[in-house]
């Protein structure tokens, strides 16, 4: 890539950044109480938080929840720079959502919606950062045992969760590369020049990943 390439949103003349990989999925080793908590408990708490945020209305409650989750992130000693960079696009998306909700339903709903989104994404980040993927997979596999009755192997369900965590940054990278390729051909104003090759590449990636999982015996 050229020295003034824009991957990762770097401005001309400034150092390049690694592509955005999203906040979810990256384990941050540590020994905090959150790291030591069972993965199942953390997942249940995450689901419970989602329910609470839906049931309890108002911007004050949403702000309180965000502060509480932020406090837990500090307790877990999540790396601030990496986490905030990962969350930045989510903050922007939440701001857009807040703008729309404020226009449609008033400022209180707008603020509450944005804070709820941030709280849940930060909480999800907290769970994946303080839980080894291995433990997460084991927990999901245990929870998915009843699905065996309908012919769905629990390990496959757990693997799907792992793949989801991995796929977000892959999609980001593929779209970025397709956008760069479109730009190199002078087609940056044509969305098809980015969307079509990115879609084709993601389908190809999905097929190859399936082959790789089969080759590793993970689909047996």
């Amino acid at each position: 890539m050229s020295p003034v390439g824009r991957r990762g949103g770097t401005a001309p003349g400034r150092p390049l950044r690694a592509p955005w990989a999203g906040p979810l999925g990256l384990h941050h080793p540590g020994s905090s109480v959150l790291h030591r908590a069972p993965a199942g408990l953390k997942l249940v708490a995450l689901a419970g938080l989602g329910v609470v945020l839906v049931v309890l209305r108002g911007p004050a409650t949403a702000a309180l929840a965000l502060v509480a989750v932020g406090g837990l992130a500090a307790l877990a000693r999540l790396p601030w720079r990496r986490t905030s960079r990962g969350l930045l696009p989510v903050v922007l998306a939440a701001a857009v959502l807040a703008g729309y909700q404020t226009w449609a339903r008033g400022w209180a709903v707008g603020v509450e919606t944005a804070l709820d989104v941030l709280t849940l994404v930060l909480a999800g980040t907290l769970v994946t950062a303080t839980t080894r993927a291995d433990d997460l997979l084991a927990t999901v596999a245990r929870a998915a045992r009843p699905l065996r009755r309908v012919g769905l192997p629990p390990e496959t369900v757990a693997l799907a969760v792992g793949l989801f965590l991995r796929t977000v940054p892959v999609v980001v990278r593929v779209v970025g590369e397709s956008r760069d390729a479109a730009r190199a051909r002078g087609l940056e104003r044509d969305p098809r020049a980015t969307v079509v090759p990115a879609t084709v590449r993601m389908v190809a990636h999905a097929r190859t990943t399936g082959d790789a999982l089969a080759a590793r015996g993970l689909a047996d």
Binding site: A18, H27, T209, A214
Partner: protein, 243 residues
């Protein structure tokens, strides 16, 4: 011992003229016994060499004939074959599933090592062997292409397969990483079958298979086999006349 017994691979192909689909032969029939520890497979793009490689661990099943690894049939004993035959792809991104190197290697061990602590310890050891222990907890996206390919290799080797099949493992790598990965492959105790466009690497094998248009057209020591391949690729009349 890898045995291919009149193995054929066919596929449905659309008719360019708009007629009904027809069956085309992608590979074979191929009959081979492969016992050498280092085997290279060379051929043009689309010649069928990757299909041949994929036959060896059951990723592709023969439409006719049989493929056996240490007596295990890839159709009947698919899971057992895959436990014996590890497979490394050209693009490690397709192979790496988990967010960090340690977790990805540990994933390979989930079926064989029930204890999580032991899995982690073994995964650490596997990363140490390839020099990636210090990068155990970073995102796999922060690794260079060479490091990702090494990681993909470590994830496969962690399961201790008897045979390793590599489909162009160095095609995407620069010279330094290519040399590194080649050296690592050369140091393995396993039987290694490598599909490659790197003729220097192929020349170091004990046996070279040349695949062209779905047929193994040469099966020899590196010298004569690669001479035949070069002749094929440059359209030499000698090559066209050869059996």
């Amino acid at each position: 011992m890898i045995e291919l017994d009149a193995a054929e691979v066919t596929a449905w192909s659309p008719d360019p003229a708009g007629g009904p689909e027809r069956v085309v032969r992608l590979l074979g029939p191929v009959t081979l016994r492969i016992g050498e520890r280092r085997v290279a497979v060379v051929g043009a793009n689309g010649s069928g060499k990757s299909t041949l490689a994929r036959l060896l661990n059951g990723l592709v099943l023969p439409s006719a004939g049989a493929v056996r690894v240490d007596g295990l049939d890839t159709v009947r004993d698919g899971a057992a074959v895959r436990r014996r035959v590890g497979f490394v792809f050209t693009d490690p991104d397709a192979q790496l599933v988990m967010p960090t190197p340690l977790e990805d290697v540990a994933l390979s061990l989930r079926r064989t090592v029930p204890d999580a602590a032991e899995r982690t310890a073994r995964a650490h050891a596997a990363l140490e062997r390839i020099g990636l222990a210090e990068r155990a907890h970073v995102s796999v996206h922060q690794l260079s292409g060479g490091q990702r390919q090494l990681l993909a290799l470590a994830a496969v080797l962690a399961t201790e397969p008897a045979v390793l099949v590599c489909d162009e493992p160095t095609t995407l790598l620069d010279l330094r990483w290519r040399t590194h990965v080649d050296a690592l492959l050369a140091s393995l105790d396993q039987q290694v079958v490598v599909v490659t466009h790197d003729l220097d690497a192929a020349a170091r094998a004990e046996r070279v298979l040349v695949v062209d248009r779905g047929q193994v057209v040469a099966d020899d020591a590196p010298g004569p086999a690669l001479a035949r391949y070069r002749a094929l690729m440059t359209g030499s009349p000698d090559a066209l006349a050869a059996p």
